[in-house]
């Protein structure tokens, strides 16, 4: 294990791997990633695979617009297929009231250059056959949204980072940090200490705990969400389909992956719930009756790390120089991974990222400058 590093990245999910890769790409040859379990073992590897720009705030839309540009070239950049497919997001609209909200959302998205549009039921059925036309009156569609494989993306970032000299310590836990005269001096891990003056807290569901180690309060709460995957079959559900709190699509291998929001208290252990399967199956079969004979293969749970305004926390902590935070993605960490890695690496190397992220700093919570995102699903 290295005893010194320019930057220690705490967390081996997509954002941590992307930050480490981008730091190495910008010229740092001694970046270390410390991961408690295996790479992608947290929310990244548990996620629903979707990548969208259909958000409702300028901050989210701009971030995701830039992230999609990176996703479009990510396989080429990393030298390995990440399973990215630009197959769109199809949002089924249930009634007139929802339709007026979606019209507003589409206006905001179009204003910032995202080509979403409202389409009718017939057009939606051309994009996804076998949808039940009785359960929606129109849809919002953005063909530039899509999906990718979390496992392939994790491995592609890992292998590309390794080629650039990034070192990865898996099954290694951060136990504390030493801070002297307002600066970080070292990170204490279960496998030894690493001297450094820059740490990135990108620990996902563990981000609050990592913050506590240095007295920085990170106001996030971990909410358990459930996901299911079915046996594979020929692909006809190409986009991510959303209706209310239900979402589903087909993975590259052909299984339906999807979920639905269930009432949960924060910090529940990642155990599966049988009642989720019933609620998911009921709603899915209603939206697409042809799926009733498809077999469910696996069910699991992962955390949405929620902030009060559903936007991530990005930036350096004002209270502690050299302590960078990329956390609280509120269910959108996978899709934002490529842009977050680029911007945090630029912030560390140049002091200024190429897309402004000032509005997303930690201190917005103390100042009461929240940004509200209403489009959170699953």
């Amino acid at each position: 294990m290295k005893r010194r590093a320019s930057v220690v990245v705490i967390g081996g999910g997509i954002s941590g791997l992307s930050i480490a890769y981008n730091l190495a790409k910008l010229g740092l040859d001694d970046v270390v990633v410390v991961e408690k379990r295996y790479l992608g073992s947290g929310s990244t590897g548990k996620c629903g695979t979707g990548i969208r720009q259909q958000f409702t705030t300028k901050e989210h839309i701009m971030l995701m617009k830039e992230s999609v540009k990176l996703w479009e070239k990510l396989s080429e950049e990393l030298g390995r297929d990440v399973g990215y497919r630009q197959t769109g997001y199809l949002w089924l609209i249930r009634d007139e009231e929802e339709l007026s909200v979606f019209k507003e959302n589409v206006n905001i998205q179009n204003k910032y250059g995202v080509p979403s549009r409202i389409i009718n039921v017939e057009e939606a059925l051309e994009i996804v056959p076998y949808l039940n036309p009785e359960v929606f009156i129109a849809a919002a569609f953005c063909h530039k949204d899509g999906k990718a494989s979390p496992f392939k993306t994790v491995n592609a970032y890992y292998e590309a980072g390794r080629r650039l000299g990034v070192e990865y310590y898996t099954y290694t836990e951060v136990r504390g940090m030493v801070v002297e005269n307002g600066r970080i001096r070292k990170v204490i891990t279960s496998r030894g200490d690493i001297e450094t003056d820059k740490v990135v807290n990108v620990a996902g569901a563990g981000a609050r705990k990592i913050g506590e180690m240095v007295g920085v309060n990170i106001p996030v709460e971990n909410y358990r969400h459930h996901i299911v995957v079915t046996e594979p079959f020929q692909e006809f559900v190409k986009p991510m389909v959303i209706r209310g709190k239900l979402y589903f699509t087909q993975t590259e291998r052909g299984g339906i992956i999807g979920g639905i929001d269930m009432p949960e208290k924060p910090d529940q252990p990642l155990r599966a719930r049988l009642d989720f399967l019933e609620v998911f199956a009921t709603n899915l079969v209603k939206v697409m009756p042809i799926l009733k004979n498809v077999n469910i293969l696996r069910q699991w749970a992962g955390y949405y790390v929620m902030t009060k305004d559903n936007h991530p926390i990005l930036g350096e902590a004002e209270k502690l120089e050299g302590f960078y935070i990329a956390a609280g993605f509120s269910g959108h960490g996978f899709m934002m991974g490529p842009i977050v890695g680029k911007l945090i690496a630029e912030l560390i190397m140049y002091g200024k990222p190429s897309v402004p992220i000032d509005a997303l700093r930690l201190e917005r919570f103390e100042r009461g400058e929240l940004i509200y995102e209403r489009a959170v699903i699953g």
Binding site: Y38, T170, G244, K245, A281, T282, K286, L291, K292, R374
Partner: protein, 91 residues
């Protein structure tokens, strides 16, 4: 060519290659190759792959361990489960 995972057509050679390229814990290896996620639910392939990994690393099967289990134990049709609560409330 020897097929080890019959759901995903993963060969013995692919397993060795992945282990030798750095996927040396059972969870990462599973996610690199996608074994244990098909209709057999890993009951055919996982014990074999755990043994291959143990042998390659010079460790015991206990040290290598088994990947996390995911319910249900056998595949279940969506239609059988589709009698739950209809979640129609607004976002």
């Amino acid at each position: 060519m020897k097929i080890v995972c019959r759901c995903e057509d993963i060969t013995y050679e692919e397993i060795l290659e992945a282990i030798r390229s750095g996927y040396t814990d059972i969870e990462s290896l599973k996610r690199k190759l996608n074994f244990g996620m098909g209709p057999c639910r890993g009951r055919i392939c996982i014990p074999i792959i755990v043994k291959i990994l143990a042998r390659e690393l010079g460790k015991s099967v206990e040290e290598v361990g088994y990947p996390s289990e995911r319910p249900p134990i056998i595949p279940l049709p969506l239609g059988i489960l589709a009698n739950g609560e209809d979640r129609e409330e607004k976002s």
